[in-house]
Amino acid sequence: MTAGRLSLRVVALGYLGLLLLVPIGMVFYRALENGIGPAWDAVTTPPAQHAFYLTCMIALIAVPLNAIFGIACAWLLARYEFRGKRLLDTIIDLPFAISPVVVGLALILVWGREGWFASTSVIFSVPGMILATIFVSLPFVVREVEPVLREEGIDQEQAAATLGANTFQILRRITLPTIRWGLTYGIILSTARALGEFGAVAIVSGKISGRTETLTLFVEDRFQSLDLAGAYAAALVLALIAVAVLALMTILQRKYKDH
């Protein structure tokens, strides 16, 4: 064990500890400082419960939609050559490059009062938040499924075709089973992103407590209202979800390599 190696390890672990671990530990501490009781009360108030349900509902709509179109786009990109393919590739990556605030602005400009498709039921209400969430979580499924489809190649699908399977049967019996790990991983990443979205939904929702607040908006709202207990308690819930997501991601990554 050389001094060099040890010092590298210390620096790396120290950096990670101070940047990631200890702060997260503080959240756990602060949230549960006065015991589980008060923390539980803070996250079971009606606005908190509503925020939780709203967050889940938005994710339950946005993620499956992105999954379906993610598979479709991945299939197109992995199997075909066509003009504008690179453009399609770039557009799919755009949500990674746009600030959430710009996303919110964009949606207001399209669906707001003076927008291109002016509508009163999009901005300041749930459909707008769904659109924002779809935007920011769009690329994950495509990006995880596409390499799997590309790598597995077309042979299995062609073999199935020669054995008499039509396109739907090929999709159901061959393509989907082949991509299932990539798809699952992509859905998990997409869900984590959807649950964690803040900036875009902050703008689009109007942050109306009890009506258009997601859990992330609720955290900010409690903080700005100086209800630190409420803020930390809600943050704890989100942090626990994040840890669960991390665990799932790690397990799946190991599964990936088995195949």
Binding site: G4, L8, V11, A12, L13, Y15, L16, L20, L21, P23, I24, M26, V27, F69, A72, L76, R79, Y80, E81, F82, I91, L94, P95, F96, A97, I98, S99, P100, V101, L105, L107, I108, L109, V110, G115, I134, L138, R150, I154, E157, Q158, A161, T167, L189, L195, E197, F198, G199, A202, T216, V219, E220, A231, Y232, A235, L238, A239, A242, V245, L246
Partner: protein
């Protein structure tokens, strides 16, 4: 010119099983591939509605008052201050990410210790944790009520800290696989020729990692420039001091100054696009080499 690989050939869409239902086609006529067309059409429509139209609206709105108003909006002193601060802090953060990212990746790949796989999993935490929670966690430890007496709330350092958190994984994850697949023999050969470990690292390992580091840095920079949720609590959003471009845009939206917001947004988007195109163009060049 060589023939394309076989995985380009097309899967046929389901065709009616009764051949008499379709008129016989002359030899050489192509079957119409309906499957891919439909899927392609839906995908394009989806992307257009969800991504392209909204972004187009921003660009259009930014020029609503003509080039003059666009220019005024982006040269507004507060806007300029916000953008300058954003760029500088993002560059600084990206540079720190580059160094620490390589270091952490090195330790994760070359070192062995108990709990290493846990640490490896931890790296993805910034991807899994909502940004607002990230900001709050940093505030808990390094803010007003800091148990260790470090208070970076309302400071530029606080903004940098939040950005370091959210951009941590990019360089690490970009470098790790390259480091893992590196041929150790080159380093061993260098050692046998008398090179010390630092020299060998600088001359042999680092050049091999360079593309990955740059790709990770570009992603980190792009993310930092647009970050909102992690910063909004810790920075205090003091104009001309700790206000970043995204918060500035947010405040413009709240004041209903959407044109001005759109103009600055366009600048932000332009920076991001340059980053995106830069990486992919350059990754393609590196691949051909």
């Amino acid at each position: 010119m060589s023939p394309p690989p076989s995985d380009v050939s097309v899967i046929e869409a389901p065709v009616s099983t009764d051949s008499s239902a379709r008129p016989a086609k002359p030899a050489g006529a192509r079957r119409i591939r309906s499957g891919p067309l439909i899927v392609g059409g839906f995908s394009v429509a989806w992307l257009t509605l969800i991504v392209l139209i909204p972004l187009a609206a921003v660009v259009v709105r930014s020029f609503e008052g003509g080039v003059d108003e666009f220019w005024n909006a982006v040269t507004n002193p507060q806007a300029v201050a916000a953008m300058r601060f954003t760029l500088i802090v993002s560059i600084v953060v990206a540079a720190i990410d580059a160094v620490m990212g390589v270091l952490i990746a090195w330790v994760l790949v070359r070192d062995e210790f108990h709990g290493k796989s846990l640490v490896n999993g931890l790296i993805d935490l910034p991807f899994a944790l909502p940004t607002i929670v990230a900001g709050l966690t940093l505030l808990a430890l390094y803010g007003n009520k800091s148990p260790v007496g470090i208070n970076v709330a309302y400071t530029q350092a606080g903004v940098a800290l939040a950005l370091l958190f959210v951009t941590l994984p990019f360089v690490v994850r970009a470098v790790q696989p390259v480091l893992m697949s590196l041929d150790r023999e080159a380093e061993q050969a260098a050692a046998s020729l008398g090179a010390g470990p630092i020299y060998a690292f600088r001359r042999i390992v680092l050049p091999a990692l360079r593309p990955a580091i740059l790709a990770g840095v570009a992603l980190a920079f792009g993310r930092a420039v647009g970050e909102f949720g992690a910063i909004v609590l810790i920075s205090g959003n003091l104009p001309f001091k700790t206000e970043v471009a995204s918060v500035f845009v947010f405040s413009r939206i709240e004041s209903d100054a959407t044109t001005s917001a759109a103009a600055v947004s366009v600048v932000l988007m332009a920076i991001s696009f340059v980053m995106l195109f830069g990486i992919s163009y350059w990754a393609r060049r590196a691949e051909k080499a």
